[in-house]
Symmetry: C2
Subunit: 704 residues, 2 copies
Amino acid sequence: MLTPPNETNAGGLAQALLAPRSVAIVGQSNDAGKTAGRPLKYLRQAGYAGRIYPVNGRRETVLGERAWPSLAALPEVPEHAYIVTGTQDAVEAVQDCGRLGVKIATVLADGFTEAGIAGAARVAQLRDVTARTGLRIVGPSSLGVVNLRAKVMLTANAAFDEHPLPAGRTFAASHSGGMIGALLSRGLARGVDFAGLISVGNEVDLSLGEICAATLDDPAIEGYMLFLESLRHADTLRAFALAAARCSKPILAYKLGRSFEARELAVSHTGALAGEDDVAAAFLADCGIARVDTLDGLIEGLLLLGRVPVRARVAQGARPPQVGVVTTTAGGATMVVDPLAVRGVRIEPPGATTLARLAAAGIAVKPARLIDLTLAGTRYESMKAALDIIVTAPEFDLVLAVVGSSARFHPDLAVKPIIDCAGSAKPLAAFLVPDAPAALAALSRAGVPNFRTPEACADAIAAALNRRAPRLLAAPARSAGAGDGAGWLDELETDALLDRLGIAHAPAVAIDAHGARTPALPFPYPVAVKALAAGIAHKTDVGAIVLGVLDDEALLAAIRQIRASVAERQPGTTVVRVLVQPMISGLGEVLIGYRVDRDVGPLVMAAAGGIFTEIDRDRSLRMAPVDLATAHEMISEVRALTRLAGYRGLPAGDLAALAQAIVALSRLAVMDGPAVLEAEINPLIVRPAGLGVVAVDTLVKLMV
Amino acid sequence: MLTPPNETNAGGLAQALLAPRSVAIVGQSNDAGKTAGRPLKYLRQAGYAGRIYPVNGRRETVLGERAWPSLAALPEVPEHAYIVTGTQDAVEAVQDCGRLGVKIATVLADGFTEAGIAGAARVAQLRDVTARTGLRIVGPSSLGVVNLRAKVMLTANAAFDEHPLPAGRTFAASHSGGMIGALLSRGLARGVDFAGLISVGNEVDLSLGEICAATLDDPAIEGYMLFLESLRHADTLRAFALAAARCSKPILAYKLGRSFEARELAVSHTGALAGEDDVAAAFLADCGIARVDTLDGLIEGLLLLGRVPVRARVAQGARPPQVGVVTTTAGGATMVVDPLAVRGVRIEPPGATTLARLAAAGIAVKPARLIDLTLAGTRYESMKAALDIIVTAPEFDLVLAVVGSSARFHPDLAVKPIIDCAGSAKPLAAFLVPDAPAALAALSRAGVPNFRTPEACADAIAAALNRRAPRLLAAPARSAGAGDGAGWLDELETDALLDRLGIAHAPAVAIDAHGARTPALPFPYPVAVKALAAGIAHKTDVGAIVLGVLDDEALLAAIRQIRASVAERQPGTTVVRVLVQPMISGLGEVLIGYRVDRDVGPLVMAAAGGIFTEIDRDRSLRMAPVDLATAHEMISEVRALTRLAGYRGLPAGDLAALAQAIVALSRLAVMDGPAVLEAEINPLIVRPAGLGVVAVDTLVKLMV
C-alpha cells in the first residue's frame, strides 16, 4: 500500500488532509475536557460521516466508544491520523503511520524545532519517515485541521466546542495553533464563516504554502486568511500566492514581528527565525499578498479585498487610488480618515461634476474632503441619492460610508441605503460609529464589507488599495545556500563585477603597501587610500581608510598608518597592498545593497548613505531583480533622498542614474557567474543631474 | 433674577448644567423620530423627575404634552434650556434666555464658528448675551448634555433611545456630538457605564475644560474620557487636568489629527484650527492627560489608567516601567507584545527569583520574555499559582494576562484565576484571544481591565504607563497675543538676547555693505558673511549668506553678491550692513527653537539641523520651560542626534551643553523683558564633549 515518497498530488493531498474518509485519533483521551479528549468529541458533535478510530493503548473504550490498542490493529489504514500523544509517543506513531501507509499525520506534540538538539533529532526522525514513505506530516505543534463542510474536526483547540458551526468560503492557515480558535470565534461574531482552518505548526514537512496551494482547486474556497509568525518556507508561500492570483483568490495576511521583541518570541516558541519586518513587507507585497496590522482588519478585511481590483505591479504615472467618504457624522468619519491618511491613502473630495450632481439631487454638501450629509439630514432618501451618485463618480476607486448614532436603533435611515447599494460595481465599505451589532450583521448578510473599529476599517482599506499583482520572474531567482557565505571579493574583483553590472566606480590603482616611494598616479591629489584586503567589512572601524591625502609624502604616511591600525584592530589581517582613488564629490551619498535573504531570497535596498544607515532605518527594500519604475519608487521612499530631488532650490542629483544603478545591482539575482550572497555599495556618490553616480566603496561576499 | 455675569461658581454651574430642577426644550418637535423630537421623548423615557417645559410656538401640544408658545410664557424660569431650533431662531432663544435669567442654554444649531462671516456675527450675538447676563452657553453645535443618574437626557443624539440606561462613574466630553452616542453605546457593550456625557460643540462660551472642571467635586465621577478634535481653549483644559490630578481622577483622551487631512477636516466642520499632532502630544503629556490612538483603547482603557500609579514628571535614572506577560498562548500574547514594543513599552522577562518561585510551585516555564504556561497546561491551578507569583514580583509594574481559546467556553480554566487576582495591588490587565463575550463581561464585573482587540490592549497599556504627573509652573507661561507677531530682531539684537539667556554664539562684526574696503577682522579667515537685516527668514533662499570666504578681496565680492541677490530675490529689502563671523565647525548641527503656540502656549523644540528639518520631521517638542532632565530626554528622541552620542567610535558631541542650551532657550517662556513669539537657532553647532555649543544663526520674532 506504499505510494512513492512525496508524489501525493495536490488533489490527493487536499482530500486526505481535509476530507479524509477515515481518521484515527492516536492518544485520544477518555476525558473530553482535556486537550487530547477533544477531537473525538468534536467529530461526533459535528456529525463527521467518515470512519473514526480512536487509538488508546491503555483503555478498552474512550468517551463510550471502542478504543483500538494501536494503529496496526485497525481494520483499515486510516487516511489521516491526528496524533495527540506526548512527544516521544508521537515520533513512534508517525513511524507507524509511515509503515502502514497512512497518507497524512497531523502531530499535536511540541518538542521539535523549538527544542534544541533533542528536538532537532526528533525532527530528523520524522523527516526520515516522510523521505522513505508516502506519509505527509502537518506540524508538529499543530492544533489541527478543520473542514467545516466535511465536518472534519481534527482539532484540539478549545474554541471549536460548538455546534452547529456554519461552513463558509474562507480558508484560514496559521502558524499559531491558538489563533485558529480566535479566527473561528471572532469570525462567527462578525459573520465571517470558514471553509476550513489549519494550524500548520512547525512545518517540518508540509508548509503553509503547500497546504493552501492544495486547496486552490476547491471552488467553494474564495479567499485566504493567513496568520504568520515567520517566513519559513517562503518559496512555497510565494508559489501559492502566484497560483492564487491566477485563480483570482485574494490572500490577506497578518504577520507578527514589527518589533524586535516579537521576532525574538517567534524564535523561542516556534524555533523559526523571524527576519526584519520590512523584509517581510517587501516579500508579501512582491507576492501580491495584502497585509493588515490589526486582528480585526484580518477578520473583517478579506471580504473587501475580494472586491477591490488588483492594481498593476508598477504603474508609473497612473494616479494613486482615491477614496470617497460619505457620512452623516464628520467626527466619526474623521476617525477613519485619520489613520487612512497616515497610511498614505488619498481621501479625495468630490469633483465639480459630482458636486453638481449632488446639488441637482437636492443634497446640500459643502465642497470639502468629506461628503458630509449633516446639512441634508439623516434620511434614507438623501443617503441613498448621495450614495448612488458617489458610487458612480469616476474620481473614486472605493467608497466608504460612515454612519453615526442613527445606525444603532434606526438602521433604516442611513444603513439601509448602503445595503441597497451593495450591488454597485464600485468597492463599497461601511463603518458604523456607535455599537450597532444588528446593523453590522445586516450589512454582512448583504455582502457589504463592514468594520467594527475605525482602525480596522482604515487598515483593511489601505491593505486592499495598496495590494498589487504579484511579480512574475522570467528566471528563478537565487536562493541562499546552506552556509553563512564566505569568499569576500577584494577591491579589484569588486570593480570588475561593477563593470559587468554597468555601475560606474571610482578609478583606482593598487600599490604595494611596503614600498618606500609611491608610483606616479593617473589622477591628481587629493586621494583616498584604503587597505586592499578582502574581509574588512567596516574599513572605518579598523582604521583601514584615510581620506583627503594631499601629496606623495602624505600618501606614504597614510599607508603606514593603515598597516599599523589594521594590525592592531584586526589581528591576523596583514595589509599587503592598498588602493588609491581620487576623492569623488557629489551632492549626496547613498547606500545601495543586495543580499540573498535566508527566508525570502534576493533583496535590493536603497538607503541613506554614510555610516548612519543603521541608526536611521531610512531605507526601502524590494525583492530583486527590480525594474526602473520600481527603483524610482524605492528612491521616493527614502526620506534622506528627498534632499537630492531638488528641494528648496538645491541642485538636483542624478536620480535617473541612481535608479539605473539600483536596477543593475538587483540583476545579481538572475545574472550568470559566481553567486553573490551580499553586495553593498556605500557610499554611492550621487552627482548633479546628468553627471551620473559613482561607486566609491563596495563590499561583495560570495556564497560558499 | 439676573446674576452678575460669569460668576456662576463651579458647583452652581454643574448643578444647572447637569442636574437642573427644570428644563425647557425650545423648538421641541411633535415627531419623536426627528432630531428636534428626541429630547422630550428621552427625558420622559428615562423618568426625569424635574419640570419639563416644551416650547413650540406653532403647536398646542407636542408628543401629547402641552407646548408653551415661548420661554417668556413659562410659569417659571427654567434652569437649563436646550435649544433645538434652526440657527436664527436659536440666536433669538439665547437672547430670551439671557433676558429671563436662564442659567444654561445648550444650543444644537450649527451656523456659528464654522460658518464664515455670518457665523462670526452670530457668535458675537451670543457672546454679547453672556457678557451682559448670567447665562452660560454650551455649544452651538451641541448634541447635548446627559446625566444618567439624574436622568437628564438633554440630547438629540439617536443612540440614547434606550431604557434603562445604567449610570456609571465615567464622565465623557466630546467635541464631536456624534461621538457621545458612540461612547455610550460602545461603553454599554463593554461594561463601561457613564455618569454623564456632554457634546461641547463650538465652545463659544463654556469650554470643554471648564465643563469638566465643574464636575470634579462630584464624588460619583471617578475618571474622564475626552474625544478631542482641536486644542481650542487649551488653558482651561490644562487647568482642569491639574485640578483632576489633585483629586487623583484620571483623564484619557483620544485626539483626532495625526494626519494633515484630519486637521483640515476639523477646520471645515468645527471652524477650529487644529495644530500639528506632536504639539498636541506635547501639550497633553505636559498636562498629565493620557492619550490613546484607538477608539476601543479610549473606551476600554480608562479603568486601567485609574489603576496605574502616576509616574513622576521626569525621573532621571529611574527605570522605565516594565510589563510582565503571562499567557496560555504564545502567538496570541505576541499580538499584544508586538504593538506594545513598537510603542516603546518594555516587556520584561521574569527574573531569577521569579523563575525559582514558579519552579517551586511546580509550574514549568522556559526562561523567556513571555511567561508561557503552554507546558504547564491550561488549568485553574497553574494559572492561579503563576499569577499569584507574577503580581507580587518586583520586576513588573503591570501584569498582562493573555488567555487563549479556553476563554470562550471554559473561562473557569484560565479566566477565573485572573478574576480571583482582581484584588492584587499590582495593575492587572487581561486580553482574551478568541471571541469570548461572557468571559470579558465577567472580567468587567470583577473590575479587571480587559480588552477586545490586541491593538486596544497595547494602546491602553502604553498610554497608562507613559502618563506622567502634570508639570506645575512656578509662574504662568506666556500666551500668544492676538496678532501674528511682528518685530524681527536683527543679528546684533539676537546676540544680545542669547547673551542674556547664556547661550554661546559665534563672534561677529557688523560692517558697512557699501564700503570700498574691509576693516581688519578680530578673527582669521575663512569667514561667513550674512546680510544684517531683520526680516530675512531664510537667508539661504535669497542668497543672503556666503560661507567659507577666504580673504579681503573675496569678502568684498561676497558682500556685492549678497546685495545684488537680496535686491533681486527680496525686493524692498536693502542690505545696508553685513555681519562677518568666523567659520565655526563642530561634530554636528542642531536646530533648537522656541515658539508661543496659538493654542497651547510656549513650546521648545530640538531637531536635526541644517535646512532639512522640515523634510525629516525628526524633532522633539515640549511645553516650555523645561528642566535639564527633560532636555536630555528631548535629545534622546531626535534620531539624528544619536550620531552625536559617540556612535560607532565617533567622537561624542557636547550633549550636556546642548541640553543646557535647550533649557536656556526654553526660559523665554518665563523671562522678563520683551515677549518673544518665536526664536530659532539653526544651526547650533555641537562641538566635541567639553567644548560646548555655538549658535551660528538665530532668528527672533517678538510679539506685536
